[in-house]
């Protein structure tokens, strides 16, 4: 017994002169471009062989054919051990290519990674667990890249994954805040320009902007300045109110049943049109506008939550979104007011634009209301 024990023991103690040699390491490069993830992951073939077995014919040699044949197993194994979260939401990740690269200690499989986050992340969390359960000395070397405005301005963060540091958090920094701001500002613009309900509602408010109501009659407004000031006030009141409910709803301060809110939005569109045909409110219109803004804001909030607000940058994102809404509305104003002001004395402006336009807005608003309230399909596409 003794000699055998000692043969084993001597092999053990011969570990004394440590071998200078690189332990198992993988190299993960990840580029976060808005919501797109792009990357490359180099994993040693020797490690993959130990973890999932690559040497199909068990001849002690790993050939390219064997690696290629194991591509889907390699991809599955790798992806099971890497999780990317953007602002608390899991980003998708897939392997869409397999190549080979030689590092100083042998050949590595190169996995091309591609993925998508629900939005450009303000906070990125990586959870890396490759090989840790098998090899306590394994490390993952990370190079995280955030592209800047130009190719040269991209910033890199390096980090090391270890068993006791397998979850790492990153905040891309100021350039990323700017990117989020831009993205949500654009979303605000698009919300107005492409939202039919929003446009119709504004049309209802704008159509009579160059006129004023006096003794039951529409009269041309005396000055352009007054027309612009009044409508800008209406629009801004709308935006401010819109921002209030949007912010409160989007930060989770309250939630309203979406069907109720959508009906209310349709009702406001209908009312805005009707008010031009049968004037009910024609002084201090901005109060009406502010009230309607409250309703529209609540409607948008749910859409924005679905879009995914960055947890760390909610304030920024909401501000950017509202500024985008305001900018889009003011741009519409700038487009609509000059021609209508020019034609304000012409009779046909009233008969061809104002009344039929308002009638159309009223009708569409009414149809939406019916559709939303009673769950009917009347053939008008919902915004």
């Amino acid at each position: 017994m003794m000699p055998r024990v000692f043969a084993l023991l001597l092999l053990l103690l011969m570990a004394a002169p440590a071998q200078a040699h690189k332990a198992s390491t993988s190299y993960l490069h990840l580029r976060v471009d808005d919501q797109q993830l792009e990357g490359r992951w180099d994993i040693a073939l020797r490690d993959l062989d130990y973890a999932i077995g690559l040497d199909a014919d068990d001849d002690g040699r790993i050939t390219w054919g064997e690696v290629r044949g194991a591509q889907s197993r390699i991809a599955d194994y790798a992806l099971q051990h890497l999780k990317v979260d953007g602002d608390g939401k899991t980003c998708t990740l897939a392997v869409d290519g397999l190549q080979i690269v030689e590092h100083s200690d042998g050949n590595y499989a190169v996995l091309d990674l591609r993925g998508t986050c629900s939005q450009a992340p303000l906070k990125l969390q990586l959870d890396y667990s490759l090989l840790f359960e098998l090899d306590a000395l394994h490390r993952g070397l990370l190079d995280l890249e955030f592209p800047g405005d130009g190719a040269k301005n991209s910033s890199h963060l390096s980090a090391l994954f270890a068993p006791d540091a397998h979850v790492l958090n990153f905040e891309p920094g100021s350039t990323q805040v700017l990117r989020v701001f831009r993205e949500y500002f654009r979303a605000g613009l698009i919300h107005v320009w492409s939202g039919l309900d929003h446009l119709l509602f504004l049309a209802g408010l704008f159509l009579p902007a160059v006129l004023r109501r006096s003794h039951g009659e529409w009269l041309p407004t005396p000055s352009l300045r007054k027309a612009v000031r009044d409508t800008a006030l209406i629009v801004t009141a709308f935006t401010v109110a819109h921002a209030c409910t949007l912010t409160l709803a989007a930060t989770g301060a309250f939630t309203l049943p979406s069907r109720w809110v959508e009906c209310a939005v349709a009702a406001t569109v209908c009312f805005a049109g009707l008010n031009n045909l049968v004037p009910m409110v024609y002084r201090e219109l901005f109060w009406l506008s502010a009230g309607f803004g409250l309703i529209h804001g609540a409607a948008v909030a749910s859409a924005l939550i679905d879009l995914g607000l960055p947890a760390g940058g909610r304030v920024w994102a909401l501000l950017a979104f509202n500024l985008g809404v305001e900018a889009a509305q003011l741009s519409l104003l700038a487009l609509v007011i000059p021609p209508t002001y020019y034609f304000r004395y012409s009779r046909w402006y009233r008969w061809i634009i104002l009344l039929p336009g308002s009638a159309a807005v009223t009708l569409v608003g009414a149809i939406w209301f019916l559709e939303r309230a009673f769950d009917l399909q009347l053939g008008v596409r919902l915004p």
Binding site: L10, L11, Q19, S24
Partner: protein, 403 residues
């Protein structure tokens, strides 16, 4: 912008043919057993029962021995993982503490290794002999042969004679008793023909190294060859012997023999270093192909050091100092690394690279800790003594330290 890891510089490619061989397992020459396959088997057995200490220790031992043979730290990582249920426990079973000590010692965590070994010895548990032996090795690496002798003495009557004798020779030869230890091993070795191959291999390598230090080159060459034969017949590769023998051959300008000895073993850093040195020596003698090989191997070593450092790991500084001194001919840098290395490792080869770098830079002050150590231990080593006296001429002729 932080520097890109050098790893990203390499271009990925698609191999031309399915038959392209991308990895080849190192296998001991002449051995029929496929150790990695055996290891995978016990890994599967362990995975089914991960908290079983017997299976974990059995796996860890296999992994460590394979790690030694292949010079691949992966196996030490596997061993550590197998021990992970107990890794942070202060006092797991003696077998687990012994295996943990071996891994810690391999990682150059000598204090951590000593804690485990001390506790096994204090408990007088059934692994006590192995603990004494391992602690002796740690103490020798740390440059304290006197303390190591006590552990070796504790082995007498508890292990086979050759093991205790080699342990005593190893520590005693570093303490002014080299000729006596050389004689002792020469006497005992022929009587221990039936000792396990691993024990004889250790004794023969030790004897060869003692002979080198005493300037008995013929005996050294003979014992290195005997050790090589033992290694080949055992079916287990011993990178320590191969590196030690290669250094001897390099000192005797036998570079072609080094290339033959280490053929195909460039995966192991210590051996890649010796291959590069052999090729560089041939290149200096006018061999253009050797120049190309030496340059490529030097480049590869640099890359491995860089990649190891990028992981946040220690780079084995003895080898790194040799790399700067012999391959890059940058003695000041080699000296810095060697001085740093000396804080942890104090064996004759650590002393040698430091003294050579100090001679090349005319810096006796940097070598003072080594000179003190030589005086304290009374080590008999002709080469180190020559280097020490070369340094002393700098001290007397150029007190400023500059030539």
């Amino acid at each position: 912008m932080t520097a890109l890891a050098p790893a990203w510089a390499q271009q990925a490619y698609t191999p031309a043919s399915d038959d392209t061989v991308l990895e080849q397992r190192l296998r001991p020459s002449g051995s029929a057993n496929d150790a990695p396959a055996v290891l995978r088997q016990s890994q599967r057995a362990l995975a089914a029962d991960p908290r079983n200490p017997d299976k974990a220790v059995a796996f860890a031992r296999q992994a460590i021995s394979l790690g030694n043979e292949e010079g691949d730290p992966r196996y030490f990582g596997y061993a550590e993982s197998a021990l992970s249920p107990w890794w942070n426990e202060p006092k797991p079973a003696a077998e687990i503490r012994l295996a943990r000590a071996t891994i810690l010692q391999w990682r150059h965590d000598f204090d951590g290794a000593r804690r485990d070994l001390d506790s096994v010895i204090a408990d007088d548990d059934h692994g006590v002999n192995q603990a004494h032996l391992t602690r002796a090795i740690v103490l020798i690496v740390q440059g304290d042969p006197a303390a190591a002798r006590h552990d070796c003495a504790a082995l007498i009557d508890h292990t086979d004679l050759l093991t205790a004798a080699t342990c005593l020779a190893s520590s005693g030869s570093l303490q002014a008793q080299a000729p006596a230890m050389e004689r002792a091993l020469l006497t005992i070795l022929p009587q221990a023909a039936n000792a396990p191959a691993a024990t004889r291999l250790w004794a023969q390598t030790e004897l060869a190294e003692i002979a080198v230090r005493l300037g008995h080159d013929a005996l050294a060459g003979e014992q290195y060859e005997a050790a090589l034969t033992t290694m080949q017949s055992s079916g287990h590769r011993d990178p320590y012997l191969l590196a030690s023998y290669s250094d001897f051959l390099l000192d005797h300008r036998q570079s072609p023999r080094v290339l033959a000895l280490l053929d195909g073993l460039d995966r192991i850093d210590n051996l890649l270093l010796r291959l590069a040195r052999a090729n560089a020596a041939l290149a200096d003698a006018g061999d253009a192909q050797a120049r190309t090989r030496a340059d490529a191997q030097t480049q590869q070593l640099q890359q491995r050091f860089d990649e190891t450092r990028a992981r946040g790991d220690f780079v084995h500084q003895r080898e790194e100092a040799m790399y700067w001194l012999y391959l890059r001919h940058d003695a000041p840098h080699a000296l810095t690394v060697a001085v740093d290395n000396w804080r942890k490792q104090r064996e004759p080869s650590d002393a040698r690279v430091l003294l050579e770098a100090a001679v090349a830079t005319h810096d006796p002050a940097a070598a003072q800790p080594v000179l003190d150590w030589l005086k304290r231990t009374g080590l008999q080593d002709l080469r180190l003594q020559a280097l020490a006296s070369a340094l002393s001429t700098y001290t007397s002729s150029t007190p400023s330290g500059a030539p």
